[in-house]
């Protein structure tokens, strides 16, 4: 066990965990931020997507020891009042079915839009390829990203 300092959603935290503990489990078990989901544990489904210094990363496969002083943003910190253009678009398109993968979808899409404000269909498909939605709400996710991109 070792102590790690990390900044999540603008707040400083200190945790005492094994160096190989994935960021996902630090968020969920130590910081009680459970919006970030466990899906596969091997970075193949995207349910655990968070932002690390603005990049979308799979938190299930990032050991806490590699985080350094980078800042983390999770779905809980995406916006102060659930008003991110993607959250608005998610409401408008009534995207979710079971909802479990959606935080990861939104976080991945938010990173895409922060780098490419108006992605083409193909760019969206390519960026979202790592995020599985087992209920297959893919077309609504895509439509919501396009709606949000118009207002970013």
């Amino acid at each position: 066990m070792a102590q790690f300092n990390l900044k999540v959603n603008g707040k400083e935290h200190q945790v005492d965990v094994d160096a190989d503990t994935p960021l996902l489990w630090v968020l969920r078990d130590n910081l009680d931020l459970v919006g970030t989901k466990f899906g596969c544990g091997i970075a193949m489904c995207g349910a655990c997507t968070v932002h690390v210094d603005g990049d979308a990363i799979r938190s299930c496969s990032m050991p806490i020891s590699t985080l350094g002083d980078k800042s983390v943003v999770t779905i809980e910190g995406l916006s102060a009042d659930a008003s991110h253009p993607l959250q608005n678009a998610w409401r408008e398109h009534d995207v979710p079915q079971c909802g479990y993968c959606q935080a990861g979808q939104i976080m991945n899409a938010a990173a895409l839009l922060s780098k490419n404000a108006s992605p083409t269909d193909e760019e969206i498909e390519s960026a979202m390829n790592g995020n599985i939605c087992r209920c297959a709400t893919y077309n609504r996710i895509k439509a919501a990203i396009k709606t949000a991109s118009a207002s970013v």
Partner: protein
């Protein structure tokens, strides 16, 4: 306008009381049809028929709270069903709050059932509850105004009298609690619906898009340990011995416990338990035969070739008809095992103490599971409490409570509150798969007519592989259907649209090929057959040919079936299941040298559409799910061991592979609604296979299609 009774044998379907905080509470049974005239509905009703499992509360502030007994698994039941109550109650949807009903309250007897029939069976009960509350509120208002209730009208939670005076539901709610429950209530005419048929957003959307805890996986309780379990690596293997010395060295591992044929690692955190499990060394011995896909294939092929028992249906004489036929077409279709793979892996919380057993998590069958836990622990059911959380998908997997039994046993042995968590590998390899199956179809054509049809179905575990009284039953004079099962130690269970998730593809692909051999348009052949089943059926049928004709015609029209377009290959499919009718056209085009589905146009007859935006979501999801599994889904076995374990070696469809456009059209009618969680999935694989055939010249007889070298023609 429809009148329905609110009692049967003088016992009311409803329980009425005053709300503690003021207002009116009406308890009702959400899940059972309440039409007392239908004898069959009464016979099929559970023993606790009159017990309530849901209620609606009208507070003095006018807020309507509807307690839903059903856990949400993604089918949007928590939104769509309260809409029905609100419609008959005549309140504005914005004044309605939907809550998941708690389990341990004296108000409820829980009778939750899974499956796609809940909307169909609850339709009348939900309407009656809303209509009864409205009538009681009106009676109370009439009394206060000293007028006859028939002179009053309601609109969005406000009662109005002939003089134009008004009372809100909230103002009269407490007084309504003492009104006698009416024996009969009037239901709205569908043409007067204001909420039903209107796009209504998911009631849990805010929690979902802000990451609020609501799934079983998110649960955390004081003193709780996380358990991760080592299970047999192959079906039929028995635990011989295990060495936990390395596991116990992992920091955060608190205990290692053997239970039955499994070993649980308990940790202070999820990661500690997962790491501890990886460090376990175990030896296994094969107790029952280690089966392989190769073995299953051989056994099933043998079953297709021999007559093993009585046919499930036999019209005319197929053997004689085949002998005199001008043309005989025979094809075999093969489908693999499939894991369910809900995005939220199996998990459950359990705490077994001397006083009681608390169980919380995602399960579709709490009542059956409670019975099983009672048997396992030797404790009365009255000491066992199950609460349900929102489910991160199910697809059938959460109908089975094996993981609840596991957590109960681990908590009992460790004397600790436990959250059991499956890794993705555990989830994919622990079993209860969609069973593998095979179908042999044979058709005989004479004088340009389909005169004989013979289907033999087989699969792993169980023997109900066919739907012999569904299409094309009734349309062909000589018709025989047989079904035989092959037992296995690999565990199997229901998977979204059980049986038909593969059977429909096989049948609809075969019909397409038969139409081609006959030189008839694929849609026209279906219509001709259905016309026969409708006007002069051979034997009895369990579907309504007229409704299927309606869905087929609508899909063909909306997709411009009869017009051709350069570079576009269209495939047709239609299927009846779960009391709904779905027909669709898939369009395949060349996308970077590969065939790709650019559009699916589908027509659905599901009666009254409660919530179009959610209904379309279900239909879109079912179609992409059907296409995805037809293309990629595969679980094979070698020496009893499942060969896929995570999303690196098990392929699920992704965004870029989904048809980007899915058009849903509903056959407009005012029939009672039927479910939509499953019906769009079965026909999707057939529409895809038939379109791919036109694009490539290749027929697809085996799933997943990607195993076949696919080349554009």
């Amino acid at each position: 306008m429809t009148l329905i009774k609110t009692s049967y044998n003088r016992r009311s379907f409803l329980k009425v009381s005053a709300a503690g905080s003021g207002g009116l509470v009406i308890g009702f049974n959400w899940l059972v049809s309440c039409s007392p005239s239908a004898e069959t509905a009464i016979k099929g009703a559970p023993k606790e028929w009159f017990n309530v499992n849901a209620y609606l509360k009208i507070g003095e502030n006018g807020l309507v709270t509807i307690m839903s007994p059903n856990p949400e698994v993604g089918q949007n039941i928590k939104t769509s069903m309260p809409m029905i109550v609100a419609e008959e109650l005549d309140v504005a949807w914005k004044d309605v709050v939907v809550e998941q009903a708690p389990l341990d309250t004296e108000k409820f007897v829980r009778q939750v059932a899974g499956g796609s029939q809940s909307l169909r069976s609850s339709w009348k009960g939900l309407r009656m509850a809303g209509a009864t509350a409205r009538k009681m509120l009106m009676e109370a208002a009439a009394k206060q105004w000293q007028v006859d209730a028939s002179t009053l009208t309601t609109s969005e939670g406000v009662i109005k009298n002939a003089k134009g005076e008004t009372l809100t539901y909230g103002q009269i709610a407490s007084a309504a609690a003492s009104v006698t429950v009416p024996e009969e209530v009037e239901l709205k005419d569908p043409s007067a619906f204001k909420i039903i048929g209107t796009d209504t957003k998911n009631v849990d959307i805010e929690k979902i898009i802000t990451g609020k805890p609501q799934y079983g996986m998110d649960l955390k309780k004081e003193g709780m340990k996380v358990a991760v379990v080592l299970r047999p690596p192959s079906f039929g293997a028995k635990l011989k011995s295990f060495d936990d010395s390395e596991t116990r060295k992992v920091s955060g591992v608190s205990d290692v416990i053997q239970f039955g044929n499994k070993v649980a690692v308990l940790g202070n955190t999820t990661w500690a338990a997962m790491k501890g499990k990886k460090a376990l060394k175990a030896e296994w011995e094969q107790e029952t035969p280690a089966e392989s896909t190769e073995y299953h294939d051989k056994q099933m092929m043998a079953l297709l070739g021999t007559k093993n028992g009585e046919p499930r249906r036999n019209d005319g004489d197929v053997d004689a008809a085949f002998k005199t036929a001008d043309k005989v077409i025979e094809k075999t279709f093969e489908g693999p095992f499939l894991p369910h793979n809900p995005m939220e892996p199996m998990n459950f919380y359990g705490h077994v103490t001397a006083a009681k057993v608390d169980l919380i998590g995602p399960i579709q069958t709490p009542e059956r599971t409670r019975r099983q836990v009672s048997e396992l622990l030797g404790r009365p059911e009255t000491e066992i409490f199950i609460d349900m959380t929102r489910m991160g998908g199910g697809f059938g997997r959460r109908l089975y409570g094996d993981f609840v039994l596991e957590v109960a046993e681990i908590s009992k042995l460790s004397n600790t509150p436990i959250k059991l968590v499956y890794t993705r590998e555990d989830d994919m390899t622990a079993g209860i798969y969609r069973p593998a199956s095979k179908y042999k179809f044979k058709a005989g054509v004479k004088d340009g007519k389909l005169v004989a049809y013979h289907l033999v179905g087989t699969g792993i575990n169980g023997n109900g592989w066919t739907r012999e009284n569904w299409f094309p039953a009734g349309s062909i004079p000589n018709y025989r259907v047989e079904s035989y099962g092959q037992d296995s130690n690999i565990t199997t269970g229901a998977w979204r649209a059980p049986i038909t998730n593969f059977l429909a593809y096989a049948e609809q692909s075969f019909i397409d090929e038969v139409a081609e051999e006959m030189g008839v348009d694929a849609v026209q052949l279906r219509l001709d057959l259905l016309e026969k089943a409708k006007s002069d059926p051979v034997g009895t049928v369990d579907y309504e040919p007229e409704k299927m004709i309606g869905a087929i015609k609508l899909a063909a029209e909306k997709a411009n079936w009869s017009t051709t377009e350069d570079g576009v290959s269209k495939g047709f499919s239609a299927y009846y299941s779960h009391n709904s009718y779905v027909a669709m056209v898939a369009e395949v085009v060349n996308k970077k040298g590969q065939p790709s589905t650019r559009k699916v146009t589908c027509a659905v007859d599901c009666g009254i559409v409660i919530n179009p935006i959610a209904a379309k979501n279900q239909i879109e999801g079912g179609i992409i799910d059907g296409i995805g599994h037809a293309m990629y889904g595969d679980m094979t076995f070698v020496n009893g061991a499942p060969q896929a374990s995570n999303f690196n070696n098990y392929r699920l469809i992704r965004m870029g592979e989904a048809p980007p456009v899915i058009e849903c059209h509903f056959v407009k009618n005012t029939n009672d609604p039927t479910g939509l969680g499953e019906p769009s999935l079965p026909p999707a694989g057939g529409a895809l296979a038939n379109a791919m055939y036109k694009a490539t010249g290749q027929r697809f007889y085996k799933q997943p299609f990607m195993q076949q070298q696919i080349k554009l023609g």
